[in-house]
């Protein structure tokens, strides 16, 4: 009858100091968080944006230099490498995770005995730190002791797998490790979506004579649109922020071959004493994430509003 937004408004005009305190209490409770977020998130964002227009080097300085940092940023080969890597990494990471995730979810949805064992196995990497993941894959992909060596021991002596040492191919090693960590999670998202589909629709499709394959292609997968969208947003967000994994796996090398915007920002700000450029790269990263997240959050909030 009443809208949720209004449902819980307490009596507004209670009298007396105690009652007034009661009325202000909710705001007082929320105030510290609000202040913290205003300062530590939005204030800091503004500060970093400001720094990106200054001549800051090893420490923040406040001489304005206009767009000079951005101009320098876009002339730096390393930044272009970082962007190119992000494009390769992001596209493959999202693409492969979605394919594996959907594939596994559909397989698991075939009334599998032992689903309760398999599902946690697919998902546990998500509980690990990227540093741990990076360490494991770093040595497993290492030609000296890892996979290549294993193959040689098993008699395939001509096997070569030196991607992690190869400036052209090292970024694909990052993709391998990252997919390993996240694809189980994408599987869980799709599985939740599959389990949420109305049984009667599927029964109707069966009666209409659709094969299992047709049911998935024509009816089930189109209904997973929200899961696709969520997976894309989460993975894109993770890809743009990726830092730990690269540090642990390749430390952005060999050379700067696996540089990503996050490692670029860190090294220019804290190691190369170009804080202005670092700040500018952080601003670009923020804009990249915002372009993915803001429409999504906006749609979610709007969608939630319509449901009421």
């Amino acid at each position: 009858m009443s809208t949720i937004a209004q449902a819980s408004v307490p009596p507004a005009r209670a009298s007396g100091a105690r009652a007034r305190l009661q009325n202000w209490l909710p705001r007082l409770v929320l105030a510290p968080s609000f202040a913290a977020i205003l300062v530590f998130v939005y204030g800091f964002i503004l500060f970093t944006v400001y720094l990106s227009f200054t001549d800051s080097t090893i420490l923040p300085r406040y001489g304005l230099v206009g767009w000079a940092n951005y101009e320098r940023l876009w002339r730096l080969p390393n930044w272009w490498i970082a962007l190119e890597n992000l494009a390769i990494f992001g596209a493959l990471y999202i693409g492969i995770c979605v394919v594996i995730g959907l594939f596994l979810a559909i397989l698991l949805d075939q009334k599998i005995r032992g689903e309760g064992v398999l599902r946690p196995i697919y998902l546990y990497p998500m509980a690990l730190s990227f540093i741990v993941t990076g360490t494991a894959w770093k040595w497993f992909l290492d030609p000296g002791i890892g996979l290549e060596q294993v193959m040689h021991h098993w008699g395939w002596t001509s096997f070569h797998f030196t991607w992690i040492k190869d400036t052209e191919m090292a970024i694909y090693c990052v993709v391998i490790a990252a997919v390993w960590q996240s694809s189980g999670f994408v599987m869980a998202m799709f599985l939740a979506g599959l389990r949420g589909i109305d049984n009667e629709i599927l029964r109707a499709a069966q009666i209409d004579g659709a094969s299992t394959f047709q049911i998935y292609r024509r009816i089930v997968i189109p209904q997973l649109r929200p899961a696709f969208l969520s997976a894309f947003v989460v993975l894109a967000h993770l890809a743009i922020k990726s830092y730990d994994l690269v540090v642990a796996l390749t430390n952005a090398g060999p050379g700067r071959a696996t540089e990503l915007p996050a490692t670029f920002m860190y090294s220019y700000t804290f190691a190369r004493n170009s804080m202005g450029v670092g700040a500018a790269s952080a601003v670009i990263m923020l804009m990249m994430i915002a372009s993915v997240i803001v429409p999504y959050v906006y749609a979610e909030i709007r969608g939630g509003g319509n449901e009421r």
């Binding site: 009443s2 209004q6 009596p11």
Partner: protein, 371 residues
């Protein structure tokens, strides 16, 4: 001075006016039912009486005291919610006693009162259970117990029976009525079910779009509806509302009902004629309840005026106790209530009796009652 007074009550959510100047007065011991379709503002009205929602204007008085600015707990009211709103983490006894605990009543007295109320509602064997382990009817009783134990000046019920199945609903309805007559407390009760309203109320307030349509006893609301909305809303099956004309006629004004391809049906107006003098030649709605439109043998023998007319029956619906026959008058389906064993067949004409004592007339434009 009435016991519960609501004066020019206004309530807005933002720019939306939900209650538009409500005026109500009930005496101590009255059972007021607020009824109307969903979205009419009846629950909002109840919440403003409870103090759960601040009002935008007007005044609410309970027993002479203005309660506009009082917190819910200070208004001396108790409320039973649609979902029962039992605290899931507390036992039945804990639920009933929580309000007393908040008011600092000693444990011993709390236990005594809980036991007393539990006995009255026959839930004393459930006191140690959690709400999740109760049936719908038991939850309902616990919710009532929580309200009863406070012994408030006014009980507020927000659609308390709507989550029960049909059979249980009837049982609980009777129980609530029994409780009311034995305790004599003032009750305000919200429902969208007009049968509940009729059976329980001593006073009914019909709301639509935040406006009070009619306020009166069940008899008044049923037999003398103030407008087409009330006439249509109260009663099941609903009142027949037939587009009609008033014809000057040879001797006195006559009511003219269109019968499709056949010649229109003309009925005398009798006592209503003077009031309808202004409507001659104009369009009106003629209202007659199914039980006043019968086979000639079932016509009310105490009625002073009964008219008859031939109508073609389109559909016959036997219910066991009665048979409903649907004909078409004024271009609309019209329901007549016949004896269960009435001889009637779909597609055949039948002579129907119109009890003219029980008819009402509405202006087609304003939809207000004219006679």
């Amino acid at each position: 001075m009435a016991f519960l007074e609501i004066v020019d009550l206004e309530k807005s959510f933002g720019n939306v006016r939900v209650l538009k100047g409500i005026n109500l007065e009930v005496e101590e011991g009255d059972f007021l039912v607020l009824v109307g379709p969903s979205g009419c503002g009846k629950s909002t009205l109840l919440n403003t009486i409870a103090g759960l929602e601040p009002i935008s204007g007007g005044e609410i008085r309970i027993n002479g005291r203005v309660v506009n600015d009082l917190a819910p707990a200070k208004r001396d009211i108790a409320m039973v919610f649609q979902s029962y709103a039992l605290y899931p983490n507390m036992t039945v006894a804990g639920n009933i006693a929580f309000g007393m605990e908040m008011r600092g009543i000693p444990k011993a007295e709390r236990d005594r009162k809980v036991a007393e109320v539990a006995k009255m509602l026959q839930i004393d064997h459930l006191l140690d259970r959690r709400p999740s382990r109760l049936s719908g009817g038991q939850r309902q009783r616990v919710a009532m117990g929580r309200a009863l134990v406070r012994d408030p000046q006014v009980f507020l019920f927000d659609e308390p029976l709507s989550n029960l199945d049909a059979k249980l609903r009837v049982e609980m309805r009777t129980e609530i009525k029994r409780l009311h007559s034995s305790m004599g407390t003032t009750i305000v009760y919200v429902t969208h079910d007009q049968v509940e309203a009729m059976t329980l109320a001593t006073k009914i307030a019909v709301l639509k779009d935040g406006v009070l349509q009619q306020f009166g006893t069940p008899d008044e609301v049923y037999n003398d509806p103030a407008n087409i909305f009330v006439a249509d809303f109260m009663g099941s099956p609903a009142m027949n509302l037939i587009p009609a004309r008033v014809d000057a006629g040879a001797a006195e004004p006559m009511l003219v009902l269109d019968r499709g391809s056949e010649e229109p049906l003309r009925l005398p107006l009798n006592g209503a004629a003077p009031k309808l003098a202004n409507a001659v030649g104009g369009d009106i709605f003629f209202g007659i309840r199914p039980e006043a439109l019968t086979d000639p043998d079932s016509a009310d023998r105490t009625a002073s005026h009964v008219a008859h007319g031939e109508c073609t029956i389109e559909v016959v619906e036997p219910t066991g106790s009665d048979t409903f026959a649907i004909t078409r008058l004024g271009g609309k389906p019209v329901v007549a209530r016949l004896r269960a064993d009435a001889r009637v067949r779909a597609g055949e004409p039948m002579r129907l009796a119109f009890n003219l004592d029980k008819t009402v007339f509405f202006d087609a434009k304003t939809e207000q009652r004219i006679a």
